[in-house]
């Protein structure tokens, strides 16, 4: 039972990170119907940016207050990553609207390769270790064999995700920007006729997706304390799995899917074997797409001829 509880805490933490990345996938897919393959690498890039800002603040500027450093790194990473994703959309995806069906996906795969190798070239191929932050443990339950603990950084991740989701839900449901976004999702041509700047809405979607990925990236560095250039691929595919499992296009679905994937992965590794945990995630992806293509909370896709 204690073991279960401990695994549950780790699973929720991991699942929150996946959920944050998954939102970026699900929004972009919803609005332009494209799998943004480079999103995982945008996440990796944001983790690097957060890591370097952290090092600048602690080493070059000598800021010692940890919360200030962490918050600055987080916000800095959000801004710079958003600028990156905006530029990527502008340069690599926007010229392809109206091109043939597979063109944006292939361009996104190219962008994914470009980003990870760009980071490898400019930052070197080796692991970048900084120590994990906020690692103080709170004992929440004194078990028979070992105490069940929760670290500060785990609390920050789960609570941060929940708060962001609330803010985000408000943005999409209650503001004019969110309304424009949902309109573009349903029918971009009609939305344009009604005076919505579709290109601008799509740009903002990419910016929001990148900002959430940057939160995930910064929290990832804070939690695990190490990042390398190839860290984008596997979390990216898992987050995409989460988006599909939750029902692509659905925001609560993305987070729900992320939590489910995180929990399954953690329990799989905890109770069976860590070797095959990626196989578990990939199998869920395949099984969901084949048997439940609209996901848990998604709308069934109706194909018009």
């Amino acid at each position: 039972m204690d073991y279960f509880l401990q695994q549950l805490i780790s699973g929720l933490t991991l699942g929150s990170l996946y959920g944050l990345i998954a939102i970026g996938y699900t929004m972009v897919f919803g609005i332009i119907g494209m799998v943004n393959f480079a999103h995982g690498d945008v996440f990796m890039l944001s983790a690097f940016i957060a890591m370097i800002i952290y090092l600048i603040l602690t080493q070059l500027l000598g800021v010692s207050s940890l919360p200030v450093v962490a918050l600055t790194a987080l916000i800095g990473s959000m801004i710079v990553t958003s600028a990156w994703n905006w530029s990527i959309e502008r340069l690599a995806y926007r010229p392809l609207r109206g091109s043939f069906r597979l063109a944006p996906l292939i361009s996104a795969i190219g962008m994914s390769i470009t980003l990870s190798n760009f980071v490898q070239v400019v930052q070197g191929p080796r692991n970048k270790p900084i120590s994990s932050l906020f690692t103080t443990n709170i004992v929440i339950h004194q078990g028979a064999d070992f105490p069940v603990t929760v670290a500060y950084n785990q609390i920050i991740i789960v609570v941060g995700t929940a708060l962001l989701l609330l803010a985000f839900w408000y943005l999409v449901q209650k503001t004019s920007l969110g309304r424009a976004q949902r309109a573009c999702e349903q029918d971009p041509k009609m939305a344009a006729l009604l005076g919505i700047d579709v290109d601008r809405t799509i740009s903002i979607t990419f910016i929001i997706g990148a900002a959430l990925a940057a939160v995930a990236g910064s929290l990832y560095v804070m939690k695990y304390g190490v990042v390398t250039f190839s860290d984008g691929f596997i979390p990216g595919v898992k987050a995409f799995t989460a988006a599909v499992l939750g029902g692509i296009g659905s925001l609560p679905g993305a987070v729900l899917g992320g939590l489910i994937i995180g929990l399954i992965e953690t329990f799989w590794a905890g109770y069976f074997s860590a070797d095959y945990k990626d196989v578990a995630a990939f199998s869920i992806l395949a099984v969901t797409l084949i048997f439940l293509p609209s996901g848990l909370l998604g709308r069934p896709e109706v194909e018009k001829v």
Binding site: F48, M51, A83, L91, L96, F118, Q120, V244, S283
Partner: protein
């Protein structure tokens, strides 16, 4: 004229404004990922090194590039000339170009051998000839799935792995010869193509791509972790080398290739034999594909690619059509895989990563989906180009000692994919030859078909 003169200063001003915006954006993007490099020191602590010089150079380049692009895009065009693209001037000679190309490929190793001697030729035939031909073959195989049937397969390398491991395991565990394993590897890979193809029949487009990617990764993870079967990360080594139909290429006086033909032993013999083997395999792939396109199944593939619903409503069984495409593509990957194993003498899961899949896909896409000649050109450009990167020693003189062109290989690869989609989404070979026609067979622009070739 007068209006043009008065307009030009403001055009320049606008260009400069755009340039400044782009430069500022570049400066923001560069911060901090280029401005500072984090590298671990001896104590494994990260230390920052600033690189403002490099960052400023990039900002300047971005500024100049943006200004020139703006000026180029807004230039006053004297008269809009609508160019009607006729069929390519090469069109009547395509047949001859193909024959000349094949003849050149056949004499290539001998020409190199005479020019450079056996020491220098080894590198050329192996690194350029064999390496490029493997990718040409893989590209042609994937072309059946992606170019003809329009099924985007991101896990193609899995079948390549099945072929390679088939030969590696069958030869080391059961002592079977390469010539028995080659068809077996193809059959096993085709079987896996059907096993993996079956569940994804209902999926289309992006979803299909992602699921095939997942399958590719699952196979690789299994190869890594099922150590009893595949020896995990360590891979399978000491795979038997290729023999000349039973005669080994060894330095020995009895029963070897050199002794049988009474010639002096040279390691180049094996390489040249491998070269002709992969050339034969690749040309077989090409030949089979060309013939299949004229059969009903080939036409069904192309119909499926263009419009699945129309295809189904015309009574074509999409299940078998898709499965045969998967199986055919996988079979050729299996052949290529067993060739890879016999050439390397060693296989490990490291050779079958997603990057490999996307390389093959990039070759197919850059060549112009469905175009057989395009695949060849793209493979020469991408694989040959990256091999040439290794040779560019003079770049070290320009950019300093630490500059290693090879590490830019994948970066250039990715950028090429993106730029190709923007500028020439139809690939290098962008004209299309219809496979079925009413009165006259003439090539059309790729923009007129919805997906691929034909």
């Amino acid at each position: 004229m007068a209006s043009e003169n008065s307009a030009s200063p403001s055009r320049l001003a606008l260009a400069l404004k755009e340039g400044v915006i782009a430069a500022l954006l570049a400066a923001l993007l560069e911060f901090p990922i280029i401005d500072y490099q984090a590298a671990a020191n001896i104590d494994n602590r990260l230390v920052l090194t600033s690189r403002f010089g490099l960052a400023m150079t990039i900002v300047a380049i971005v500024f100049i590039a943006r200004v020139s692009i703006y000026l180029y895009q807004t230039r006053v065009v004297a008269r809009a000339v609508v160019k009607v693209k006729g069929p390519s001037v090469f069109a009547p000679y395509v047949q001859w170009i193909n024959y000349a190309g094949i003849a050149a490929l056949v004499v290539f190793p001998f020409v190199i051998l005479t020019l450079l001697g056996s020491g220098g030729a080894l590198k050329w035939v192996n690194n350029y000839g064999v390496q490029i031909l493997i990718y040409v073959m893989l590209g042609w195989g994937l072309n059946i799935v992606v170019g003809l049937a329009g099924l985007l397969d991101l896990g193609y390398v899995a079948f390549y792995a099945v072929g390679a491991y088939s030969y590696a395991l069958l030869s080391t565990k059961f002592g079977l010869s390469f010539w028995i394993c080659l068809p077996l590897a193809g059959i096993l890979a085709a079987l896996w193509g059907m096993i993996l193809g079956f569940p994804v029949l209902r999926l289309r487009g992006d979803y299909l791509a992602i699921v095939t990617l997942a399958f590719g990764e699952i196979i690789r993870t299994v190869l890594i972790n099922w150590t009893d079967f595949s020896n995990g990360y360590a891979g399978i080594s000491s795979i038997p080398h290729i023999t000349f139909f039973g005669l080994p290429f060894d330095d020995d006086d009895h029963g070897t290739f050199s002794s049988f033909f009474h010639i002096a032993y040279s390691p180049i013999h094996r390489t040249i034999f491998l070269y002709f083997l992969i050339l034969t395999l690749a040309l077989t792939t090409n030949f089979v594909t060309i013939r299949l396109r004229r059969l009903p199944i080939g036409r069904a593939w192309e119909a499926l690619r263009e419009d699945e619903i129309a295809c189904r409503s015309l009574g074509i069984n999409t299940t078998t059509t898709k499965l045969t495409a998967f199986a055919m593509g996988a079979m050729f990957a299996g052949f290529a895989g067993s060739f890879f194993a016999v050439r390397q003498g060693f296989v490990s899961p490291e050779s079958f990563t997603f990057v490999e899949s996307s390389t093959i896909l990039a070759i197919v896409v850059l060549g112009g989906m469905g175009s057989q000649m395009g695949v060849v050109l793209a493979a020469i450009l991408m694989i040959g180009g990256t091999e040439i990167l290794r040779e560019l020693e003079f770049l070290k003189a320009i950019f300093g000692k630490g500059f290693d062109p090879v590490q830019y290989r994948m970066l250039l690869f990715g950028l090429a994919m993106v730029l190709m989609m923007i500028w020439r989404p139809r690939g290098i070979i962008s004209s299309r030859m219809p496979s079925i026609f009413l009165a006259e067979r003439k090539s059309i622009s790729g923009a007129n078909v919805s997906e691929g070739h034909g």
